[in-house]
Structures are given as structure tokens and as C-alpha cells.
């Protein structure tokens, strides 16, 4: 089953020169899965396991926060304000947008 993940990655590397490789792989797999086949039942268990433990994969890079240089570290509080504000704004914007379209009413 892991071989299938590898296959996905392989196609990715060949096709993905401009678009991020893994993103291209995701699109390719998506196209393949659109047609009913046995592929879905083979790929699904692997994919579920990977997605469930996604947080673990972010850990190495995240630990890097504590090892940034002082010049960048000084900017971090300001950066956090910017991120917090813009994320809040984006969520409000999208919630109001969807409310305005009235998408949440028709089910």
C-alpha cells in the first residue's frame, strides 16, 4: 500500500516542475479516484493513517521556532499580531460572505 503512495509521489516528481510536486500528486490521485475502481479501497487505509497523524509530521519543522536567530526572534511578537489580526479578519470576511450569499440556508 505504501507503494501506491510512492507511485503518487513519482508521478508528481515527473509532472510537478512549476506546481509543488505533492500538490500535483494530489490532483492526479483525485482525477484517478473520480472513476470508480478498486484504487479507492487500496489507497484509503493508508491515506487515513497518514492524515490522522499529520500533526506528527509538522513537529520537526515546528521545533525550529525555538532555534531562530535573535534578529528574527525580535520580530516575532509583531509577526504574531499581524498573523492573529489577519486570520481573524479572514475568518470574519468568509463567514459574513457565506452568510450574505445565504448559502447556509439551502441544504
Amino acid at each position: 500500500m505504501v507503494i501506491f503512495q510512492w507511485l503518487g509521489e513519482l508521478v508528481v516528481q515527473r509532472a510537478g516542475v512549476i506546481v509543488p510536486g505533492s500538490l500535483m500528486g494530489m490532483l492526479l490521485l483525485l482525477i484517478f479516484l473520480a472513476y470508480p475502481s478498486r484504487l479507492a479501497s487500496i489507497v484509503e487505509p493508508v491515506s487515513n493513517r497518514l492524515i490522522q497523524n499529520l500533526s506528527l509530521l509538522f513537529i520537526p519543522a515546528c521545533v525550529g521556532v525555538f532555534f531562530l536567530g535573535p534578529a528574527i526572534s525580535l520580530q516575532i511578537p509583531l509577526l504574531m499580531v499581524v498573523i492573529a489580526l489577519s486570520t481573524l479578519l479572514a475568518i470574519i470576511f468568509m463567514a459574513v460572505l457565506i452568510k450574505t450569499i445565504g448559502a447556509d440556508k439551502n441544504d
Binding site: Q13, S47, L50, F58, P60, G64, L79, M94, I98, K99
Partner: protein, 239 residues
């Protein structure tokens, strides 16, 4: 082609016992998170990463060494992104009737998320490198890394930025939904995916598979969309 494979193989085989630290940190974070009845502020990453950082300092292992030793985990991010296609495909069929609304929401939402971050960064920091590093903040980590690289931002910064965005996202989103009165969990999921990427999606899956599916769609489409518009846009502005 073979170069790429060889590079990946090297990355995987560079892994060592130090990787156990990550697993331990993750396990510790997870068990505390579960015991706290899954409060967002006690997200496994918030508990786990300082714990690992302290251990690294105590054992005098430097970060580069640690990061290399975790090659397998970093490499898995690729297949994990590919794996996102499975829930996407599964739910995309059910979503056929809401695709117009979905598309509008992702196009405007994704654009707004990046532009709001850019303009606030411009206003508050006036550091071009910060702006470039923050632009891809709402995009899932593997995609954000590539975008940031293309923009010339700081790759080391983008992961914590993306992580922090996700945490802020899952913290404020429920309150915003409550205030605005958005109760439909499909759209809650979509917003979580577009603005808070994988962390938002994780949160959405905890709520319900349907919420998670919409979140996955939001995250996936926003990742594709942002990588399309952001790079050309920045290039126009910086010339």
C-alpha cells in the same frame, strides 16, 4: 528523476534515533490533549514542540542535526499531501450542487487571507522579508514552503507562521461562527480549511467527517488557488 529519488532516499536514511524524540513529543502532546478534552490551546504541537526543544538543549543536540534526523517525517509530508486527495474525492461528489458557492468562497476567502496578511505586514513591520514570509500563511505547510521559496521569503519562518495561523484560526473561528450566526457545519469546515489549513482541518474532522470533508476541500482548493495568484501578484508589486 533518479537524482530526485536519490535525494529523497538520502533524506529518509538520514533519519536516526533522534526521531524518537519527535514521536515521544507527539505522543506526550496527544495524551495531554486527549486528557484535557481536546482544548485547542493544548494542541499536541504546542505541548510537544517546547518539550522537544528543551530536550534538545539539555542533550546538546543542535537543531540542524535534529532536523536531518527527522528526514523520514519531513519526507512523509509529500505523500500525506497526496493522501488528502482521498477524502477530497470522497466528498467532492456530494458537493456537486454547492460547487458555485464553494468556488466563490474559496476564491475570495483565499485572496482576502493573503492580501490582509500582506497589507497588515506592510503597515506594521515595513520589513519586505517579513511580508514575503507571511504571504502564504493560510496555505498548508508543504505548499506554503514551495510558495515562500518562490517568493524569496524565509523558509524557516513559514512553518511556525503557518502553525500559528492554524492555532489562531481554530481558536477564534468558533467565536466568529457564533457571533455571525453561521451554524452550518459544512461552511464552518470550509472556512477552517481555507484560513487554518491542516490544523483547521484536523479540528473540523474532530467535529464531524462532513465538516472535515469541507475543510479538506477548502484547504486543497486554497492551496492550489494561492499558489496560482500569489507569486505573479507579488512580482508585479515588487517591480
Amino acid at each position: 528523476m533518479t537524482d530526485l529519488l536519490a535525494m529523497q532516499w538520502q533524506q529518509i536514511t538520514a533519519s536516526s534515533w533522534v526521531m524518537l524524540l519527535s514521536v515521544t513529543g507527539f505522543w506526550l502532546g496527544m495524551s495531554i490533549y486527549r486528557r484535557s478534552s481536546e482544548k485547542p490551546l493544548l494542541h499536541p504541537l504546542i505541548i510537544g514542540t517546547p518539550f522537544i526543544a528543551i530536550l534538545l538543549v539539555l542533550m546538546s543536540v543542535d537543531f540542524d542535526q535534529y532536523y536531518k534526523a527527522n528526514g523520514l517525517l519531513s519526507w512523509l509530508l509529500g505523500p500525506a499531501t497526496v493522501a488528502l486527495a482521498v477524502p477530497l474525492a470522497k466528498y467532492l461528489k456530494q458537493m456537486s450542487k454547492v460547487i458555485p458557492i464553494l468556488t466563490i468562497a474559496v476564491l475570495f476567502g483565499g485572496f482576502f487571507a493573503a492580501v490582509s496578511a500582506l497589507s497588515l505586514a506592510l503597515w506594521l513591520t515595513s520589513e519586505p522579508i517579513m511580508m514575503l514570509s507571511i504571504a502564504a500563511k493560510s496555505v498548508t505547510t508543504p505548499i506554503a514552503m514551495v510558495i515562500t521559496q518562490q517568493l524569496g521569503g524565509l523558509i524557516t519562518l513559514i512553518t511556525p507562521i503557518v502553525l500559528f495561523t492554524g492555532i489562531i484560526g481554530i481558536l477564534v473561528a468558533p467565536r466568529v461562527f457564533h457571533i455571525v450566526g453561521l451554524e452550518d457545519e459544512r461552511w464552518q469546515g470550509l472556512i477552517l480549511g481555507v484560513t487554518a489549513h491542516a490544523i483547521g482541518t484536523l479540528k473540523a474532522f474532530e467535529k464531524s467527517p462532513r465538516c472535515g470533508a469541507f475543510s479538506t476541500i477548502g484547504m486543497g482548493l486554497n492551496g492550489i488557488w494561492t499558489s496560482i495568484f500569489l507569486v505573479p501578484m507579488i512580482q508585479i508589486f515588487t517591480v
